[in-house]
Point group: C2
DNA sequence: CCTAGTTACGTACAGCGTACGTAGTGCGCT
DNA sequence: AGCGCACTACGTACGCTGTACGTAACTAGG
């Protein structure tokens, strides 16, 4: 009766099983996996309590026994894919190791494009996130710096990767739910942008368009960015 | 009759006024201002088509004459606050100027905390965003580098500022709509985190907690971050 | 054994974005 | 001048959302 208290809690602090009552039909991992499956297939908007419940084959409201709020479902999802990180053995070369981590994160976000929308809004203290953070700190053992600085490094690198992928995917993820194609969308935007630039109101922007730099190599842009971030933390850099 | 085509378009490409028919009762600026007012007062979730219409004093569906999709309303909002940037005269010291721009952006996002949620998802080619970009490029005139690099700089700096503020505000903006206080929320999260760290599963994380570095000076963290980003673009840096 | 705490889930409500139909208005063209 | 069309305005309605609440079945601890 009175067990339905609306009390502040982190889902990770609430035990998955308390012992009383019937055996739960699912684990948190089941639920997270179902939600991730839906998001991968149909974007984040396809993840509704009803859809996840249907995917699991249970009533909608039964989900609330496992996940008190929708936001907690998001936390489960983020934790689940955070577990996809390969926590390799540090090599002793912290720069190379962190590059590897960053590339992995990028690949992970390409696999799960909805992640970028969840990263800004979820806390990042889920078990797998903590494991990943600990792994990064292990990679940074060779770097002589206080832990505070190392955590700043990890945060900045992750942030940059997220922002980068977010820009990369901003059309792709959005376009999924629109009734027209990405080509159309881009064509319209480029036409508009070209018109603006041609208006003469933005001379430097126009110059940058005119600058002949060949086709943009996104991978190179990404790698340059990583290098710059790491440079900022290298001794005598 | 047939004028309600669902055609891909950027709202900025659609003229605000076509000449035919009755005078529109509002300008885009009116609508953006109303939405911004609501978001400032009640968070982004308070911005619904119905609420904005009520704030303007018109019927809900009338809004759709001005704003074909909700997403376009978001674009109007982002453009409106982008116009709050002070496009000062460049001083010739590109580093100082970009620092000033970044600090301004941070202040702007503190004034409108909902912006961080919109920044990842909106395109950023609105008139005021273009003006701001052009201004940044003007500040970067003294830097000898191709425009491609300068744009990478602006993107990275903006991205880092956004990420930083996002982390800073992740609780604050969220907590607004929860039925308990931020103190409670934080207490619960810290208790949980402390427990995890104390479990011994994360030795380096535990060490970083134990590290005595005095109270965290967020402003200093922010400034360090800016410095590192700019260092990555400084000649012989 | 009993009972308190859980699981399961149907119903219901308030709110959302928005498709569509209709009525009224005034510019542009003939 | 006046016809017609593009536009504004907006009520109604639909399908969807998160989730509060009530009820019935179940099981482990006292």
């Amino acid at each position: 009766m009175a067990g339905r208290a609306a009390v502040p809690e982190v889902i990770w602090a609430r035990p998955e099983r308390t012992g009383r009552g019937p055996r739960p039909a699912f684990t948190r991992a089941d639920i997270a996996a179902a939600a991730v499956r839906l998001a991968d297939a149909g974007g984040l908007d396809a993840v509704s309590m009803r859809h996840v419940a249907a995917e699991l084959g249970c009533g909608t409201m039964s989900l609330y026994n496992y996940v008190p709020r929708k936001e907690d479902l998001y936390e489960l999802m983020v934790d689940a894919v955070s577990g996809e990180h390969d926590l390799f053995e540090p090599t002793g070369d912290w720069r190379a190791d962190m590059l590897r981590n960053a590339r992995q994160t990028k690949a992970l976000m390409h696999r799960h494009p909805w992640m970028v929308r969840l990263m800004s809004g979820v806390y990042g203290f889920s078990p797998n996130a903590l494991r990943y953070l600990e792994h990064c700190l292990a990679c940074l053992d060779p770097l002589e710096a206080p832990y505070g600085t190392k955590i700043e490094l990890v945060a900045m690198l992750n942030g940059c990767v997220t922002t980068y992928v977010s820009n990369e995917l901003s059309t792709a993820e959005r376009v999924r739910s629109l009734p027209w194609s990405e080509e159309q969308e881009n064509a319209v935007r480029i036409a508009y942008l070209g018109g603006q630039v041609a208006s003469g109101a933005y001379p430097r922007l126009a110059a940058s368009f005119a600058e002949d730099s060949g086709p943009i190599d996104l991978d190179a842009v990404f790698e340059r960015m990583l290098g710059r971030v790491l440079d900022g933390f290298s001794p005598r850099g």
